[in-house]
C-alpha cells in the first residue's frame, strides 16, 4: 500500500533556527568577522577558493562562517553561489614566470637564479603547540633585507634549455580549451580538462592519490623541481574595450614536479613533468595535483596503467568533493518508499525460503514415518 505523507516543515524550520544559534555559539564570546577569517584563517580561505573554484576571499570567508568551519560545506556554498552569476568571459592565461614570489623553493637544485626563498612556511617548524597563541600574541615585525632584483625564472625553464626535460605541450592553432563547467565530462579527457578537474578537486583525495603513487601504485619517481607562491597579474580581453584590461592580482601556488625519464629510438631520454596550480597558498594541494597529473599521463607516455592514480575515469569521477558529498550525504535523506519496497521484497524472499525449507524437511519426515 502506498501512503503519501507530508510533514516536517516546522521541524525543519526549527532545526535551521537551532543551527543558526549553534553556529553563533556562546553569545558572551565575540562574534568572528569575515576579516578575521580572511586574515587569520587564510589557508582555509585559500582552500575554499580553490575547491569552490571561485577566487573571492570575502565570499570564501563568508562561506566558512556560514558552514561553521566545515570546509566542504563552505565549498558547496561557493559553488552554488557561482552558478548565480553571469560569466563575462575568460582571462588571458596568467604568467607564473612573472610571479612576484613570496616563496620559491627547489628540491632539485640548490643554486637557482633568484635563490631559495622560504617565505611564510610551516616547513622546519617543530610542530609543537604554542601556548602563547592562546592569549593575545603579538608577533615580531618581519625581518627585512634588500629586495632582490634578480629575476626568478622557473626551474623547469633552466632544465629545458639543455633539453634535459620535456617542454610543455603547446596548444594547436585555434584549439578550444575544454571547460568541464560547461560540457559534460567524456573519456578519454585531454590534459586541459584533467588539470581543471584536479585544480578544483578535493585536497584530501588528491593527497591520497599522490601518496599512492609514491608507495608504488603507479610509481614515477618524483622530485619537486619547484614550488612557487605569490601574486600574478590577471588580464581580461574585454570585448567592449577592445584590448586586454588589467583586473588586478591574484595569489597562486605552482608546483613543477620532475619525474623519471622517457625516451625512444628517435628521442634522447629526458625528465618528464607533472604540473600543479591552485588559488592562494595551497602547497600540499599543488604537490598532490602534480603527482596525479603525472600519473594520469601514463598512457601518453607508454606506461602500463594499472594503478588507481593512473586511471583518469576513476580519478576524475571521484575527485570532486561537492559531487562526492552530495551522493554520500543524500543517503541520510528520507528513503522511506525505496526502503519499503526493499522490505517487501525481503519479506517475500524470506517467505519463499521458509516454504522451501519446510518442503525440504517434509519428505525426510515422511520417509522416516514410512520406515
Amino acid at each position: 500500500m502506498y501512503v503519501a505523507v507530508k510533514g516536517g516543515e516546522r521541524a525543519i524550520e526549527n532545526a535551521h533556527r537551532l543551527l543558526a544559534h549553534k553556529r553563533r555559539g556562546d553569545q558572551s564570546v565575540a562574534e568572528v568577522t569575515l576579516d578575521q577569517i580572511s586574515e587569520q584563517l587564510g589557508l582555509a580561505v585559500d582552500r575554499v577558493m580553490s575547491e569552490g573554484s571561485l577566487y573571492d576571499r570575502e565570499l570564501a570567508a563568508l562561506a566558512i562562517k556560514q558552514a561553521r568551519g566545515d570546509l566542504i560545506e563552505a565549498i558547496f556554498l561557493v559553488r552554488a553561489f557561482r552558478a548565480t552569476l553571469p560569466r563575462f568571459g575568460t582571462s588571458e592565461p596568467v604568467d607564473t614566470g612573472a610571479m612576484r614570489v613570496q616563496r620559491r623553493v627547489s628540491a632539485t637544485f640548490k643554486d637557482i637564479p633568484g635563490g631559495q626563498i622560504l617565505g611564510p612556511t610551516f616547513d622546519y617548524t617543530h610542530r609543537l603547540l604554542d601556548p602563547s597563541l592562546a592569549e593575545g600574541f603579538v608577533p615580531d615585525a618581519p625581518a627585512t633585507a634588500d629586495a632582490a632584483t634578480a629575476p626568478t625564472p622557473r626551474v623547469t625553464d633552466i632544465l629545458g634549455r639543455d633539453g634535459l626535460i620535456e617542454s610543455s605541450p603547446q596548444a594547436e592553432e585555434g584549439a578550444s580549451v575544454g571547460d568541464l563547467t560547461r560540457e559534460p565530462l567524456n573519456f578519454p579527457a585531454d590534459r586541459d580538462l584533467r588539470l581543471q578537474n584536479l585544480a578544483r578537486g578535493d585536497e584530501g583525495f588528491l593527497l591520497a592519490m599522490g601518496y599512492s603513487t609514491q608507495r608504488g601504485y603507479g610509481r614515477n619517481h618524483p622530485f619537486v623541481g619547484e614550488i612557487r607562491f605569490g601574486e600574478v597579474e590577471v588580464e581580461f580581453a574585454a570585448e567592449d574595450v577592445g584590448f586586454a584590461v588589467p583586473l588586478g592580482a591574484i595569489e597562486l601556488t605552482e608546483c613543477q614536479m620532475v619525474n623519471q625519464f622517457k625516451g625512444s629510438a628517435t628521442e634522447a631520454p629526458c625528465f618528464t613533468r607533472g604540473y600543479g596550480l591552485a588559488f592562494g597558498q595551497s602547497e600540499r594541494k599543488t604537490m598532490s595535483m602534480a603527482l596525479v597529473d603525472r600519473a594520469l599521463r601514463a598512457r601518453e607516455l607508454g606506461e602500463e596503467a594499472l594503478a588507481p592514480a593512473q586511471d583518469e575515469e576513476f580519478v576524475m569521477s571521484h575527485s570532486d568533493n561537492v559531487q562526492a558529498t552530495g551522493f554520500v550525504e543524500h543517503l541520510k535523506l528520507p528513503h522511506y518508499v525505496d526502503f519499503q519496497s526493499e522490505l517487501g521484497l525481503l519479506r517475500k524472499l524470506r517467505q519463499e525460503f521458509s516454504k522451501a525449507f519446510a518442503d525440504a524437511q517434509a519428505p525426510d519426515a515422511m520417509k522416516e514415518a514410512a520406515e
Partner: protein
C-alpha cells in the same frame, strides 16, 4: 589603469573628491559577474581553465563624449564605476593630466611602497648556503 585595479574603492573616491569632476553618466551600470581564469600546462604550455573569479565592470560617459571602461576583480561595482570614470577622465584634454598627477601617480607610489615592503620581507627569508668548515684529518 592597472594601478586603479590594485587600489581600494575608498582610496580612488577620496582622491576624486578633490577634483571638479565634470558631468557624466553611466553607460553601463555597475554589475558583477565571473571571469574564468586560465593557467598554462607546465606554466608555459597550452592554456587550461583554472577556476573563476568574481569581477565587476562598468562604463561611464562624460558629457564631453569620452567613454571610460572599468574592470576589477571582486564584487565592488562602485570601484568598477570609479575606474571607468577615471578611464574616461584620462582621455579628456581638460582632465587627463590632473587625473594622472593627482590620482594615478600617488596610488602608484603607494602600490610600489606596499610591493617593495613585501619584497624586502620576502628577501629576508632567502637561504644563504655556506659550506661547513672541514675538520682536520
Amino acid at each position: 589603469m592597472a594601478v586603479l585595479a590594485h587600489a581600494e574603492a575608498g582610496e580612488i573616491a577620496a582622491r576624486l573628491r578633490n577634483l571638479a569632476v565634470p558631468a557624466h553618466q553611466n553607460l553601463r551600470e555597475p554589475e558583477s559577474g565571473l571571469v574564468m581564469l586560465r593557467g598554462r600546462v607546465g606554466g608555459d604550455g597550452a592554456p587550461f581553465n583554472l577556476g573563476e573569479a568574481t569581477v565587476s565592470r562598468a562604463a561611464v560617459k562624460l558629457a564631453s563624449g569620452e567613454v571610460g571602461f572599468g574592470y576589477t576583480l571582486g564584487r565592488d561595482g562602485e570601484k568598477a564605476r570609479l575606474i571607468a570614470l577615471c578611464d574616461a577622465l584620462v582621455q579628456s584634454r581638460d582632465f587627463g593630466a590632473v587625473v594622472e598627477r593627482d590620482i594615478i601617480a600617488p596610488l602608484r607610489a603607494q602600490l610600489m611602497i606596499r610591493r617593495s615592503r613585501a619584497a624586502e620581507e620576502t628577501a629576508a627569508t632567502k637561504v644563504d648556503f655556506y659550506t661547513m668548515v672541514r675538520g682536520e684529518g
